[in-house]
């Protein structure tokens, strides 16, 4: 969008916001004022501070945190961990302002994280409240063939209205998943998946302080529609971590010097996701196939999580700040991006605007200088949609959405506000170059 049309749309209402914002925004980003003045279409949710993790397994292994999600509660019956999964349709919010009817377990998609310890026996009741049969496949777990959940091959599917039971020993530790193995295309596309964590009886590798679980997924939700299209094969336009698109994603709050584990699982219908972390490097310590020996681990900043795989990464951040963590496929950080329209970059549309406004008074050309700023434009759009939307950041609008979250590295994570922004030490934020400095450094702009 260009500045002229932007100003026409932001209007006087945004003016008040400029004044209040101006006090908070640091001096360096004068350029960003106008951008920040536009009210972001999507409200940014606030998140509760998470209590310190309890110990979940021998050796002080902390329980996993599923951002935006929950873990399945267990009861112990005669030494067996008993849980209950209910498969059903639910109204799910991808981010404030965008909801859809999806399928999931126990009110969530992905379903609750199952968390247990190597050697335990579990009994999981599965109640099917979907309109069609389903099964549960325990992805990556090695168990009796009749418990593997492949409809037709290992069992009859669970008819709607019935409750079936799975029971098996957890013979191997690891980061696994579970998902429907009946009408997979529909059921996985609509959200029938979850993570399954089995802690080792004896800790493997250095002890971690925080253990996060993130499941990636992709959906096709037409702008203004209220149910994802399970038939989609291409053009997925809503990309999620644990079922949430930014700014719906809960940030990962960690401490400087802490050892952090992130377990990534991918049950997207069609796409692998190169997950990239800023401000640190990490090693991959395990997959759903088992542990990677220390000698085979190598440092990386991006890990590809293939469809149907898990990847476990560990790192120790040293630099405090608000660090981006996102899929590096650029279209995967765009929510509901349209792909069928001609690019407008480099087109002077001022005469077209005049001409079109005679027949469509509300018309305005968009994108002639690029797509930046689209997310903050105040225009009438279909309800229940977040096209190209991101969220307001501490300096200006963050024009990423989708598979994006923030790793908040703090000196004192236990008392830090998960909704707060990093306070930068003076002189550590990029800003406009002053003329004297340019001259001194011999930069000639003429």
């Amino acid at each position: 969008m260009d500045r002229r049309s932007f100003l026409r749309w932001s209007g006087a209402a945004a003016g008040a916001a400029v004044l209040t914002r101006a006090a908070q925004v640091s001096a360096q980003d004068a350029h960003a004022h106008a951008e920040a003045s536009a009210t972001a279409a999507a409200a940014v949710p606030t998140f509760e501070r998470r209590p310190a993790s309890r110990v979940a397994a021998p050796g002080g292994q902390p329980a996993v945190i599923t951002p935006n999600g929950v873990s399945l509660p267990w009861t112990i019956r005669d030494g067996v961990k008993v849980g209950h999964l209910v498969a059903h349709e639910l109204d799910h919010e991808f981010a404030p302002g965008m909801r859809a009817r999806v399928w999931g377990y126990n009110g969530h998609t992905p379903g609750p994280t199952l968390e247990a310890v190597e050697g335990e026996r579990i009994r999981v009741y599965v109640t099917n409240r979907l309109p069609e049969p389903t099964t549960v496949h325990w992805h990556g777990l090695i168990l009796p063939n009749g418990m593997d959940g492949v409809s037709g091959l290992n069992q009859r599917p669970i008819p709607p209205g019935e409750t079936w039971v799975y029971e098996f020993d957890l013979r191997h530790p690891g980061t696994f998943m579970y998902h429907s193995h009946y009408d997979e295309m529909t059921q996985i596309a609509l959200g029938m998946a979850g993570m399954f964590i089995v802690h080792p009886r004896r800790p493997v590798g250095p002890r971690v302080d925080r253990d996060f679980v993130l499941m990636t997924h992709e959906w096709k939700l037409e702008v203004g529609a209220r149910r994802p299209d399970p038939n989609a094969m291409n053009d997925f336009n809503v990309l999620t971590f644990n079922g949430k698109s930014y700014p719906g994603t809960e940030p990962l709050l960690v401490g400087v010097g802490e050892r952090v584990r992130i377990r990534l699982g991918n049950l997207s219908p069609m796409d692998h996701h190169p997950i990239h972390l800023h401000g640190l490097n990490f090693v991959m310590t395990a997959t759903d196939g088992g542990y990677v020996s220390q000698s085979a681990q190598y440092p990386e900043t991006t890990v590809i999580v293939p469809v149907g795989s898990t990847r476990v990464i560990e790192f120790t951040p040293t630099e405090p700040g608000d660090w981006a963590m996102h899929c590096h496929m650029t279209h995967h950080v765009m929510t509901q991006m349209g792909h069928g329209l001609p690019p407008m970059v480099g087109v002077d549309t001022s005469t077209v605007d005049r001409r079109m406004s005679r027949v469509v008074p509300e018309y305005m050309s968009m994108g002639q200088t690029g797509m930046g700023g689209m997310g903050e434009m105040e225009m009438d759009i279909p309800p229940n949609s977040l096209p190209m939307r991101g969220a307001r950041g501490p300096f200006s609008y963050i024009d990423m959405g989708g598979m994006f979250t923030v790793l908040k590295v703090r000196e004192r994570p236990e008392s830090a506000d998960p909704n707060g922004w990093f306070e930068h030490p003076a002189g550590s934020v990029a800003g406009p170059a002053d003329a004297a400095r340019l001259r001194a450094d011999g930069i000639d702009l003429e």
Binding site: L341, P342, D348, M356
Partner: protein, 465 residues
């Protein structure tokens, strides 16, 4: 004898004077047609120069103005009104008494002593004179028939003015819609050109948009001609020419009313008010009159009375007589039979006309009901539905899900629906005017006068992608 003869002559003269004035005819026509005729309707030489007409034309016109102008100016109607004079002349002629025949004989003899002999002879066809009232009656029926015929022309002219005016209104509205579509296509073409110049789209896209725009220009030109054509049709009905053709239209076509206003006793009303049937009845009566006249002439002996006077030297010798032609061989049977046959034939036609009028009434009613439904459907459902599509396309455009070309396509679809809505509205008002004309007494074709090219409403050329 003399006194009685004078009495008869006076009575016959009285019968012959039973003719009416032109004002009487116009009053009668006003009553029949329900359409006011200005008192001086036939006086003006060129209504276009008339101050009152100028006054009407200065302000924007509505359909009622058009009817008023047409009644005063339509040349065919004026001709029809003047033709009443033909029948009125015949009535006058029928009432005239035969002229008496006078013969004067002057005789002189060789003998100069003998005085000039003068012989006067006067003859009067008595039977012919006696039948004059019957002839006047027949001619009066024909005059009545002509009045109904003229009243029908008044109703038809009012309808033609209305229909032509609705068409002119519609043509103007259609052109306005086409110009909006052209604007949108020009914008799409310019956008495509700029996108192509910036290197963002292939030449196919800009070529497609240019082709669509140029086609729409041709369509718009056709609609311009259609507008001019519909105005000219109206000029012919209104009798306007020269600078009197510089008038404007007051308002777009009215919206359709909730109800289509179709009378209960449709066929009966149409039959009762029909000027065609009334005219035919008058003609039937005239023929019946002729049959009676012919029969009477057949049996009534032709009586001619005469008086003669002869001067024979000093004395006048007076005498009288009568000649009687005896109806023995020719009693007018052939003529009477011919008139009877003419009566029977016309009677058949009368029945046929009545059947046709009943059918025309139902037809007009069907047209009106259908046009009402369609106009309401376009106005109340289709145009709003298309507007909703456009609105949603605009939202999707704002959300960057569709491009400017889809936006223009949706706009054109909406404009196409608006064109169809205008056509349906014109059909409704035309059908309504046709039904009203029928119920006032005149069948009209009821077909839309049509300046529509039909192209503008076509999705493929003006409204489509």
């Amino acid at each position: 004898m003399r006194a009685s003869l004078i009495a008869i002559v006076l009575a016959l003269l009285g019968a012959g004077c039973a003719t009416t004035s032109i004002r009487g005819d116009l009053d009668r026509i006003e009553t029949i047609s329900g359409q006011a005729l200005p008192p001086d309707v036939l006086d003006q030489v060129d209504p276009v120069g008339d101050a009152r007409v100028r006054e009407i034309l200065r302000a924007p016109l509505d359909a009622d103005d058009a009817v008023r102008l047409a009644i005063a100016n339509h040349r065919e109607l004026r001709a029809a009104l003047r033709e009443l004079g033909i029948e009125r002349g015949r009535v006058l002629q029928a009432g005239l008494l035969p002229n008496p025949e006078i013969e004067i004989d002057l005789r002189s003899q060789d003998d100069p002593e003998q005085p000039l002999q003068v012989e006067l002879y006067a003859e009067f066809e008595l039977t012919h004179a006696l039948l004059t009232p019957m002839r006047v009656d027949v001619a009066s029926r024909e005059l009545d028939a002509a009045r109904f015929r003229a009243a029908g022309r008044v109703i038809e002219t009012a309808y033609l003015a209305r229909a032509a005016f609705y068409d002119a209104q519609a043509a103007e509205q259609r052109l306005a819609v086409a110009v909006r579509a052209l604007d949108a296509l020009a914008a799409a073409r310019d956008t495509a050109t700029m996108l192509f110049d910036a290197g963002n789209v292939p030449e196919l896209d800009v070529a497609t948009q240019i082709a669509a725009y140029e086609e729409a220009r041709a369509v718009t030109a056709e609609l311009e001609l259609a507008r001019a054509g519909s105005r000219e049709r109206l000029h012919r009905v209104l009798g306007l020419h020269g600078d009197a053709t510089e008038w404007s239209i007051a308002a777009p076509l009215d919206d359709v009313p909730e109800e289509s206003a179709i009378p209960e006793a449709l066929e009966r009303d149409a039959i009762e008010s029909s000027t065609e049937l009334a005219e035919t009845r008058m003609r039937l009566e005239a023929i019946a009159g002729r049959v009676g006249l012919s029969r009477t002439e057949g049996w009534l002996p032709d009586v001619t009375v005469d008086v003669h006077a002869e001067q024979d030297g000093q004395t006048w010798e007076m005498g009288g007589g009568a000649s009687i032609e005896l109806p023995i061989f020719d009693r007018n049977e052939g003529t009477t039979a011919a008139y009877e046959a003419e009566f029977d034939a016309l009677m058949e036609r009368y029945e046929g006309t009545a059947i046709d009028i009943r059918s025309a009434a139902r037809d007009a009613c069907n047209r009106l009901a259908s046009a009402h439904l369609r106009a309401k459907q376009y106005e109340g459902v289709i145009v709003p539905a298309r507007a909703r599509v456009f609105r949603q396309t605009l939202l999707q455009y704002n959300a960057m899900q569709v491009g400017v070309f889809e936006l223009v396509t949706a706009l054109r679809a909406q404009l196409s629906a608006e064109l169809s809505a205008i056509d349906a509205l014109r059909e409704y008002w035309t059908a309504r005017a046709a039904l009203e004309a029928l119920l006032r007494g005149r069948r009209v074709s009821g077909a839309v006068v049509s300046s529509s090219t039909g192209i503008g409403a076509d999705q493929g050329s003006a409204g489509g992608h």
